[in-house]
């Protein structure tokens, strides 16, 4: 049954895996609704929803960024097929995060919201991450991929910047206990590190070998 762990999954299996991942990605939302209906969202439910949706957006983002390092380390590539879905789930939770902020937290008081964004670097950075993720979500379709070609790749490299901004946004939120944002920063650095290693160092080694041989 779990043969795809050894061999690459078939098309049919991929469909099932996708359906499974999709369902799992909805659990945080279902949980929030469940807790909300039970009036169990802590004394400060708005903050609870903000923290929860923010966390899951970051989680999805980091999950998205894990797929390529897995390919680099194991040589398997089928999991890349989950990338768009995970990326869009990140955008989905980011949207819930922003809606909670604009609606529940600030009741669409645009003057207060503008002031909040302008005066607090933490909010500004988070807002920037959101704005940058909009074009990525909009160009996530197959047709946009085909239309943009090389440009699409360049555009979607914005995800690295978004990840950094998201973690800075979290880091500046905590008053003093930085353990949690630090953990995510470390994960991101490892994920970046694997990419950088394979892109530059591993390649460099190969080239130097070739050069040595040709001498």
């Amino acid at each position: 049954m779990l043969a795809f762990l050894k061999n690459n999954p078939t098309k049919k299996q991929i469909t099932w895996i996708k359906a499974f991942v999709f369902t799992v990605c909805l659990i945080p939302l279902v949980r929030l609704i469940w807790l909300g209906v039970a009036d169990n969202l802590s004394a400060n439910p708005i903050e609870f929803i903000e923290r929860s949706t923010g966390f899951w957006a970051l989680f999805m983002l980091l999950a998205t960024l894990t797929l390529t390092p897995i390919r680099l380390l194991t040589g398997r590539a089928w999991q890349i097929q989950m990338r768009r879905m995970l990326g869009l789930f990140m955008f989905f939770y980011v949207c819930l995060h922003i809606i909670t902020y604009l609606w529940l937290d600030f009741a669409f008081d645009w003057l207060d919201i503008t002031k909040d964004i302008a005066k607090h670097p933490r909010i500004l950075v988070g807002f920037a991450a959101f704005v940058l993720s909009v074009p990525l979500a909009l160009t996530s379709t197959n047709s946009m991929m085909k239309r943009l070609r090389e440009r699409w790749k360049q555009l979607h490299q914005l995800v690295y910047l978004i990840a950094i901004l998201a973690i800075v946004h979290f880091w500046w939120l905590v008053k003093k206990d930085i353990r949690e944002p630090l953990l995510y920063a470390c994960i991101l650095m490892v994920l970046f590190g694997i990419r950088i290693y394979y892109k530059y160092i591993k390649v460099a080694k190969v080239t130097s070998k070739v050069q040595t041989n040709s001498l």
Binding site: G36, D39, A43, N44, E47, I99, D112, K119, W172, K176
Partner: protein
């Protein structure tokens, strides 16, 4: 989206929940192997507790802090809702809708017991606030100590319903029970060199697991200028909602200065030191450009992280929006004159 709203139950209707809570307590106590104690607690507590609400004038529990019943304080009570008898009602906070007891006691910033707001209620269960002694030091006639029982007897206890505004942009309305700090200071007999009062909280990693993490420079230190400490609004709280302070709210004794951000309210105070120079508080050390000595609630002075011009009132539900933060948290008439002529932007 979540559409559930918190119901608009008036505080006096909430009380039967105390009975409900006692059921949990029973299980907790049983878990600690204190079945006998729990049985006694059940006999003395919940039935009486059920009749007492925040709105009633007299507590129905046994007498505390009066000459005939100091023993009750000594008895360790694992979060038992020990009622405080004989406290006077005051007009402070008349017309304010109280924040639910459950919210006041489960949403706490008390880093000694963890940095998440739900942690203090969990991690403080084994904390022992009684017996307790407070030492008085520094610029005083004579160094001395006082037991918490004697502090209960220093002055008639009063209920003060105060707004509490946290620097993080949320607020509550809490029915504290305590005595004016001025009464305690009078007893302490500071000399003329005393310009400031420093409050030092307990440092005890055994009882306060959060102190294993150096998020702040332990012990927690706070301070007030002498006139602030003597202001009639300033109280040393020993209880809330008619009962002894729950551990997570700063048992057995904490500072309450309602016109200042909540972090000024040092909890579990073991030492009060009178000093000539302005004390450096734990938060001033942790972030000098974020947290000042005065920490007066001020909608016009922004904080680098949180909006200070408005706040969320806890218990308002999902769609209540924000309320405007008032200068000195609405206590400008009582405290404004102390800061006349001061640049509150510099002295934040």
């Amino acid at each position: 989206m979540i559409i559930q709203r918190k119901s608009d139950i008036i505080p006096s209707e909430i009380t039967p929940k105390t009975v409900f809570d006692n059921r949990r307590e029973f299980i907790q106590k049983a878990g600690f192997g204190l079945i006998a104690g729990a049985a006694a607690g059940l006999l003395s507590n919940p039935l009486k507790a059920a009749t007492v609400s925040s709105g009633t004038t007299e507590g129905a529990g046994r007498l505390i802090g009066r000459a005939n019943a100091p023993a009750i304080i000594k008895a360790p009570s694992f979060g038992a809702h020990q009622k405080i008898a004989n406290y006077a009602k005051t007009t402070y906070g008349a017309g304010e809708k109280l924040t639910a007891y459950e919210d006041v006691t489960t949403y706490n910033n008390y880093y000694e017991f963890g940095t998440d707001k739900n942690e203090p209620a969990i991690n403080s269960k084994l904390f022992k606030p009684y017996p307790w002694t407070v030492s008085i030091e520094g610029e005083v006639k004579k160094n001395k100590t006082i037991s918490i029982e004697d502090i209960y007897k220093l002055a008639p206890l009063e209920e003060r319903i105060y707004r509490m505004r946290c620097v993080e942009g949320w607020s509550m309305v809490i029915p504290w029970i305590g005595l004016p700090l001025a009464q305690l200071i009078k007893w302490a007999e500071p000399n003329s060199n005393a310009k400031y009062v420093e409050f030092i909280s307990l440092a005890d990693k055994q009882q306060m697991p959060g102190q294993n993490l150096q998020v702040l420079d332990w012990p927690y230190v706070e301070g007030l200028r002498m006139d602030e400490a003597m202001n009639p609004l300033t109280i040393m709280a020993v209880g809330l909602y008619g009962e002894q302070l729950p551990n997570q709210n700063g048992a057995p004794m904490r500072l309450v200065t309602p016109w200042k951000y909540g972090f000024k309210g040092a909890k579990a105070i073991v030492k009060i030191r009178f000093v000539e120079k302005m004390p450096v508080s734990s938060w001033m050390k942790a972030g000098p450009n974020e947290y000042g000595f005065y920490a007066n609630v001020n909608p016009n002075v922004e904080h680098p992280r949180w909006t200070q011009s408005s706040e969320k009132r806890i218990g308002g539900g999902l769609f209540a929006g924000r309320i405007k933060t008032q200068m000195f948290n609405g206590y400008a008439d009582q405290v404004g004159q102390m800061y006349a002529g001061m640049d509150l932007r510099k002295n934040f």
